[in-house]
């Protein structure tokens, strides 16, 4: 018993001891020296003893404090919305069990219930049962608002004038909201929308974190996108079906997606999860009759990457996640790896024969003074004829252009092209890769409305290409300029708040600077 408690004590104080010993502290000497006379302290406290304990527990149990009772039941208090069985499915104790008060599962139960996000506070306690030695485990919860705003998007996308100046294209906005405890059942119902000029995206999602009370996650999602996208950089020749179309220096395709997906996930261990999903979509697209654009010095027809009229997309996907981060938004250590594979099921009617593979890995290292170094790498490939929205997009790789939101693309600018390569010719590609390094400096840590503020600076290089860019580079480029890579960078603040996560980046300003002058796209005549 003594050794056990000393071990526990040592574990508790290990970090402190390490520091103290490093500083030349004499703890080891003190801990090892047992003074012969406890100086009467023990006897002084003996007067407080009121009873040596009940007859149903051994002396050994009394010494260890490991009191054991027979569990008579589990009682849930404080839940006004959440159904009791939703709470009980996280409690691994049942009537009739022998309950050891030292069982670490008791403490973990509290954290597990907090982790559901349904409760502001959870406390466990015991009360007497109906007969000696019996107890009831009381789980007291304080519920919280479970309606959550997951994401908010606001922005102004841009085109570029021939002189390189930005030209606003459209404002866009969107939000993603989730009720994480629908009707107190533990189900999550989420919705999202994004809207811009002539574009709309809608999502509805229902998830059960413990499907049929099993350890499987089940989820279903409905999707609707009324989208358009832009093709060509300049001097685009386009023939629309309607003669009244406004002339423009780019071609526009419009398409509507409607469908859904169902999926299931399961833990493969404490840090790994596997997700499988099936997706089925109907796509209706309205494309120009024909369009062409310069690729280098040559004029080539534009591939709209969509099938004209109606088409079906049917895919099966598998995603593996390995995540050892200490926290999701401002991690200090750990790694995060996501590997995914999508296969279009052409034998089952899919009109887009393709497969898509991607691997995304990140590692965080703690540095001196609490700083953090983050390195990440991404590589992906699309093999076959994937629809437009399944291909890699330059805005998703560059910090200086807006990301796609719910698969909608609002921006028409090509890559900033700091290296003057032929990446300026490519906005969508079948192959993409990126390496990025970020250095973070913690500025503030709190427990209330603002949880953390970090300053960060990042720099990276990314590449985006299609098969043609390897075997038949755009004319007008030579040497290094035929390697379609570009620089991306950012700096600013990452703020973790009660209301959500906010990133203030200088790229938001820099992205609006003229970065494509008349000389860019050097292959153009």
């Amino acid at each position: 018993m003594r050794s056990a408690s000393c071990a526990a004590l040592g574990l508790l104080l290990l970090p402190a001891l390490a520091r103290a010993q490093a500083a030349g502290a004499q703890y080891a000497d003190l801990a090892g020296s047992v003074v012969s006379d406890p100086s009467g302290l023990s006897s002084a406290f003996q007067g407080d003893v009121t009873s040596p304990g009940g007859g149903d527990r051994s002396d050994g149990l009394q010494r260890s404090l490991g009191l054991r009772y027979t569990l008579e039941g589990v009682e849930v208090r404080g839940n006004t919305t959440t159904l009791s069985w939703v709470v009980l499915r996280y409690v691994p104790f049942h009537a009739g069990d022998v309950l050891d008060v030292d069982n670490p599962a008791l403490a973990l139960t509290r954290f597990r219930l907090l982790g559901t996000g349904y409760f502001r506070d959870v406390q466990l306690s015991l009360r007497r049962g109906t007969h000696r030695g019996a107890v009831v485990l009381v789980v007291s919860v304080v519920e919280r608002n479970t309606m959550v705003v997951d994401d908010v998007w606001l922005g102004l996308s841009a085109d570029v004038e021939p002189n390189g100046a930005s030209r606003p294209l459209t404002a866009y906005a969107g939000v993603r909201v989730t009720e994480t405890n629908l009707g107190g059942t533990g189900l999550a119902l989420g919705g999202a929308f994004a809207v811009a000029d002539s574009q709309l995206a809608l999502r509805a999602r229902l998830a059960d974190p413990q499907f049929l009370r099993s350890s499987w996650i089940a989820e279903t999602e409905l999707l609707y996108n009324n989208a358009r996208d832009f093709y060509g950089n300049r001097d685009v020749l386009v023939d629309y079906a309607t003669p009244t179309s406004t002339p423009a220096d780019y071609a526009v395709a419009q398409y509507v997606r409607f469908g859904g997906r169902i999926g299931a996930g399961h833990d493969l261990g404490i840090s790994s999860q596997l997700f499988l999903a099936y997706r089925l979509e109907k796509i209706e697209s309205v494309l120009p009759l024909a369009a062409s654009d310069y690729r280098g010095r040559d004029i080539e027809p534009i591939d709209f990457m969509l099938i004209r009229g109606g088409s079906i997309l049917s895919t099966l996907s598998a995603t593996y996640v390995h995540d050892t981060r200490d926290e999701p938004f401002l991690p200090k250590t750990g790694h995060h790896v996501v590997a995914s594979a999508d296969i279009s099921l052409t034998p089952f009617g899919s009109d887009y024969p393709y497969a898509k593979l991607s691997l995304h890995g990140s590692e965080w290292w703690p540095m001196p003074f609490g700083h953090v170094l983050h390195l990440e790498g991404f590589a992906g490939g699309v093999f076959g004829n994937a629809p437009l929205f399944e291909r890699f997009y330059v805005g998703d790789l560059s910090d200086l252009l807006p990301d796609r939101v719910l698969d909608l693309n609002f921006d028409r600018r090509p890559a900033p092209n700091f290296f003057n390569t032929d990446i300026v010719e490519i906005r969508y590609g079948n192959y993409a890769a990126k390496i990025n390094a970020e250095y973070r400096v913690p500025l503030y840590r709190g427990m209330r409305s603002i949880y953390g503020v970090d300053a960060f600076g990042s720099v990276g290089i990314y590449g985006l290409a299609n098969l043609d860019d390897f075997v038949n580079p755009a004319t007008g480029y030579s040497g290094f300029a035929t390697v379609p890579i570009d620089l991306t960078f950012n700096a600013g603040l990452r703020i973790d708040t009660q209301a959500g996560r906010i990133v203030f980046g200088l790229s938001n300003f820099i992205g609006l600077l003229p970065v494509r002058g008349p000389d860019q796209g050097a292959g153009h005549p």
Partner: protein, 221 residues
Amino acid sequence: MRRPAAFALAIIALVTTTLSQAQSGAGSRQPARPGALATRQAIYAWDGDLLRATYSYRDVLADPALAKKLSTGLPVVIAMRAYLYREGDDVPVALVPRVCRVVFDLWDEVYRVHLSEPEHESDKAVVLDGVLRLCTEARDLPVARRAVVAPGRAYFLGVVVEVNPVSPEIVDQMRRWMSRPAGSTSIGPSDALFGSFVQLFARQLATSDATLTFRTQGVVP
């Protein structure tokens, strides 16, 4: 366009400076600036070549909710660490831990206390007042041997008391676990359904239910 960038840089610099100052002293298991802690009185005495100290930290249970936890029937740990510092130094020369573990016996209606400190370990069955005396008062706590302290120099104790402390490793493990509770990840993991939500709770995982820090008055042994 240079003005917005310069303005943003200035804002970042301002926030950096302000928050760095606000952050100082937080987040360390050992007092960062022990000399600046609030002072309370301790009684020092030599016992042979052993320096002993007596002081109280009952106020660590001042929160009624925390005191109520003592009678839940589940274990409560009150861990005290006393660092001996030379006046003016931030590096301790000795460390004394004292851990008290309390469980209320529901059927015998006594508190069963296991006390562990360098001199001895003991198990007691006491009433509430006994718990407070046993677990929130250090009496004749052995602090350091005479050889450790330099004669003629002033020393003080920097004390950290935690209720239900959790090791940083376990906190990190819990945060990882809480960041991915069952159902926390949607089919598209990059599009986590609960991610930011659960983060709120991961942030609330403190390293203890309550923490009290103070220093004793200086003493020249």
